[in-house]
Amino acid sequence: MESHATESLLRWIVLVPLLAAAVGGLLNRRLPKQVAGLLACGAVGVSFALSVTVFLRLTRMPAAERFVSDTMGTWIGFGNLQIDLGFTMDPLSGVMALVVTGVGFLIHIYSLGYMAHDEGFGRFFAYMNLFIFAMMTLVLGENMLMLFVGWEGVGLCSYLLIAFWFNDEANAAAGKKAFIVNRIGDFGFLLGIFLIGTTLLPHLAEGEGLFSFRTLQHHAGIMAPVATAICLLLFLGATGKSAQIPLYIWLPDAMAGPTPVSALIHAATMVTAGVYMVARMNFLFVLSPTAMGVVAAVGVVTAIFAATIALTQNDIKKVLAYSTVSQLGYMMLACGVGAFGIAIFHVMTHAFFKALLFLGSGSVIHAMSNEKDMRVMGGLKKKLPITFWTFLIGTLALAGIFPFAGFFSKDEILWKTFSSELGGVLPWALGFLAAGLTAFYMMRLVVLTFFGENRASAEVKSHIHESPATMTMPLVILAVLSLVGGWIGWPHFMGGGAWFEQWLAPVFSSGHGAAAHGAAVHGAAAGEAVHDTMMEWILAGASLAWGLIGLGVGYFVYMKKISIATSLRNLGGGVPYKILLNKYYVDEAYEGTFIRPGYLLSKNVLWKIVDAGLIDGLLVNGSALVVAITGSVLRLFQNGMVRFYAWSFTIGVTVFVLYLSFSG
């Protein structure tokens, strides 16, 4: 059996990083740095190699049967609830696996240089490996619960890595915030799982894994009546992980972690988990136009919302973080309009160029002695040539300039938005606007960082140097990928084959089949049968031009006429600028409405008044006190006087006698 061999490889894709993490974590400082680094990179490398192997095997299979699985036995088995401990790979998870392990591998290599002087070197790589393990569990998990294990696992690693430099209270707080905000999302996700499970459980055949994706897909029709609820709940989870409104707030703070972490987790891989999950559950989402609408709306609003914030940020990583939020919005938008394949395509290209940008920024920060504020940078073009050029490529890719990777995916998203019946002109216009803003703020970032004069102190200036090869090499590779990575999705209208979309088609087409089966809605993506090639050309051209304009304006404003920026800043009395700089005061709003009142309520009302006062004070100690006081009062009868005792005796007798005479 050919597929059998592949099956058992699957588990090792996941387990090898785990083993490496365990070894690295347990031995920690006893391991020399070289060995620790080698172990960690090697593990991810092996994982990548295995992923490639399995992926190649998939490519050799007939398109409809591209599916391999590896079951390690029952995980939770109770009654008719059957949940397996297993992994599967189909075209979708195959792509994700390659991206995660591939980019992950590069970032590991990069980290060797970046973290070389950190005392927590071993710990760092253990966490990173653990992250790869969790992410691969998420991607390859056979069922929703396995996905959830990975889902929480990556959240944990994110927490650990954000708080990696826990010496600073702010880092630790950011890590905690990330975990907790994600947990709020998980709240929805869990409920979604429950709803799926309860709906499906009575209809299950013997031995069918309840949450297995295959089962879900097979029985999607049963869930049609509650599809909207399920999808919205699941999407709540996705907004947490993929940093969408309203749960995006953790991602900018997460930049407190080491930069490779930002690149790997908070740009390339983990944050796309929400998109992946939505794509994975496409067969359910297509059953509910409402849910799709919500996804699209949240996506596009997030895209434009985050882009506006990115305009004003001064921290180089914050800009990239908001850019990530914005790009994730695009991905969600794509999902929402039914273009799941394109969403994943953008996940991939975004992974390349955003990882590149983050690593590039890391290189800059490294060179600037851990300075992150762009206002004191500038003029690094000469001093960090490799970083500069690769960064520029990343910027162009992000701005959607042909023929860089970003162009293909972003353009497709906008086109699908425009043409899909779930989309329309308004979402397209918003997305289009955000694309221009993206180009603008990225150019601002490049200009402030690399052009002009260096504004840093002399002390810092003297230390500026290009990063070592372990750091630049991944930059170069990612730059190449940012350039050519998009070509596999070369669209039809430009004479390509949209090979990427086709590769994923089996995963998503079955969803449409289920949709037809469930007779819920007309499959969204399937709807666009007619290609309006002309329109596509026009839109593509427009967005390219728009991107170029954005870049140009950005260059012009920050390079030539800085006064424009200043006057923009003072527009409307500086209020809009202030709002944007403070990120629309969303954090403060949450703090004011939920966190602070919640804390005060718990402390002053629940604990002090209800618990200590009411229950313990009044009911418990109060009743004890009443009893004790009664005792003390009754005690007073015992006054030592014989005659009083005799009185009591006599009264007793009298009552006794009277009772008898009256009752008789």
């Binding site: 004890a624 009893v627 004790a628 009664t630 005792g631 003390s632 009754l634 005690r635 009868f637 015992q638 030592g640 014989v642 009083f644 005792y645 005799a646 009591s648 005796f649 009264i651 007793g652 007798v653 009552v655 006794f656 006698v657 009772y659 008898l660 005479s661 009752s663 008789g664």
Partner: protein, 504 residues
């Protein structure tokens, strides 16, 4: 039944022997005391114990000639033997405790021993009474001896005061008891139980005479068992009496009084159960609650145990109430009701024994505790850290108190279990609930002593006791408390058999 039957004494010697032994033994001790003049009087204690042990031996090996004695004045059987064993046992323990104290203080009360024996004799007679006159004689013999035991510590005003209070109120209550007896005699035309039972069956009981008579008698017994509101002597007397006497009173007198109370209510039950029942229920509830509530407020361990004995009297009265509850007395469910009655009766017997064991263990320890001034060790706070100074004494007292609180695996729990199960069985669930609430309240004050002993550090003023014999004796009692708490069945079955005998 008025014809004079010359009692055939020769056939009754066997049954009378225990009584004679105690009576003659008491006199013997007095004589020995007068003639053998030594400074150290501990031979008296050995003699007393020997006499009491003789009672036990005679009862074990002697012929069982059960039935009426002395022309129906007394009746003997397993029932009386059971109590005689109990009294003898309590007597031995009390002798040990008392002697221990004398040894330590170097001050003897030679009159203690004969008085103890006479008091026990009174109890034995009381339990065996089959005639109002015998009741009276037994009760007074017991009481008179006890008055002196309580009040006879020379130079101790607290003892005198306690003795006087006990005596004056005891006399007062005796008057009511006697008046009750007189009225019942008037109704029945005889003082024998048989006469009364016969009259109850044949004549229409006049409520005023019989009801008043039995009510007054109940008051008299109520005084002895410390039923509220006739209980008020209890704390003062328990407090003022020497500790070993307090232990004796709390166990032996309570047992004797309950024995006769049980027999009395059974005798009067068929016609009067309904008339008495509500009052008795009310007084039972009052007794339990009053005892426990006031015990909460005590800082004097003897007073606390006194109030606790009031509360325990309440629990025992619960058994008595069950015994005469309408569902038992004279109802049509005879088969079932007899079972319930028996279970209540057996529970009372078991309770009395269990109560005696745990209370003696407690008083045994309290008795040996002392401090420089030679006063009784009554201040609970000065038991601080006893577990460090004397782990055995602390453990014994601790077990006794936990048992009194009704915590398993001690006998106190099993006693309560038997009792409450009889109560529930009779359908008196509200009473059972009140009972358990009460035992809940009681936990608090018993625990307080444990807190002091085990969880506070000893101080200079803390009590200390050195009498090894007493402590070990109490320890043995504590072991019995555990043993009967774990393996109560054999004993309970015996109690059941014994109780059937008096259920005439």
């Amino acid at each position: 039944m008025n014809e004079l039957i010359v009692p055939n004494l020769s056939s009754q010697w066997g049954a009378l022997l225990p009584y004679l032994i105690v009576a003659v033994g008491g006199l013997l001790v007095m004589v020995v005391d007068s003639f053998v003049r030594t400074l150290k009087k501990d031979h008296l204690s050995y003699l007393t114990m020997f006499i009491l042990i003789c009672v036990v031996i005679v009862q074990i090996v002697g012929r069982r000639t059960d039935g009426d004695l002395l022309g129906g004045m007394m009746i003997t059987g397993d029932f009386t033997r059971f109590f005689n064993y109990l009294f003898a046992g309590i007597g031995v323990m009390t002798t040990i405790f008392a002697t221990g104290l004398y040894d330590r203080e170097g001050r003897y009360r030679p009159e203690f021993y004969p008085l103890l024996l006479f008091s026990i004799l009174g109890m034995m007679i009381l339990v065996a009474a089959n005639d109002l006159l015998t009741i009276f004689l037994g009760l007074e013999t017991m009481s008179l001896a006890t008055y002196i035991l309580v009040g006879g510590v020379r130079g101790n005003i607290r003892s005198s005061e306690a003795g006087f209070k006990y005596l004056i109120l005891g006399g007062f209550s005796s008057a009511f008891l006697l008046m009750g007896m007189a009225l019942i005699y008037g109704f029945a035309g005889g003082t024998g139980f048989a006469d009364i039972a016969h009259a109850m069956k044949t004549q229409n009981p006049d409520v005023l005479i019989v009801g008043l008579g039995s009510a007054l008698m109940l008051v008299g017994f109520g005084f002895k068992v410390a039923m509220v509101p006739f209980h008020m002597w209890t704390p003062d007397v328990y407090d003022g009496a020497p500790t070993y006497v307090t232990g004796f009173m709390a166990t032996a007198i309570k047992a004797a009084a309950f024995a006769i109370l049980v027999r009395f209510v059974i005798l009067m039950q068929p016609q009067l159960a309904f008339a008495w029942y509500p009052v008795l229920v009310a007084l039972t509830i009052l007794t339990m609650s009053f005892g426990n509530l006031v015990a909460l407020a005590q800082s004097n361990i003897k007073r606390m145990l006194a109030w606790s004995s009031v509360a325990h009297a309440g629990y025992l009265l619960l058994g008595v109430v069950t015994l005469i509850s309408p569902s038992v007395g004279g109802s049509d469910m005879m088969m079932r009701s007899q079972e319930i009655g028996e279970s209540a009766g057996a529970a009372i017997l078991f309770y009395l024994v269990g109560y005696a064991l745990m209370n003696l263990a407690a008083f045994g320890i309290i008795n040996v505790m002392n401090h420089k001034s030679g006063e009784d060790a009554v201040d609970i706070n000065r038991y601080a850290g006893l577990s460090r100074r004397q782990p055995l004494a602390a453990a014994t007292l601790g077990i006794a108190l936990l048992s009194l609180a009704g915590i398993p695996p001690f006998v106190g729990f099993m006693a309560k279990f038997y009792l409450f199960s009889a109560v529930v069985r009779a359908g008196l669930i509200p009473l059972a609930v009140i009972g358990v609430i009460n035992s809940l309240i009681s936990v608090y004050y018993y625990l307080r002593v444990l807190v002091v002993m085990y969880m506070k550090e000893p101080e200079d003023t803390s009590y200390h006791g050195t009498e090894l014999v007493s402590v070990v004796t109490s320890g043995v009692l504590a072991l019995l408390v555990i043993w009967l708490g774990v393996m109560p069945d054999a004993f309970h079955r015996a109690a059941l058999v014994i109780f059937r005998q008096i259920h005439f």
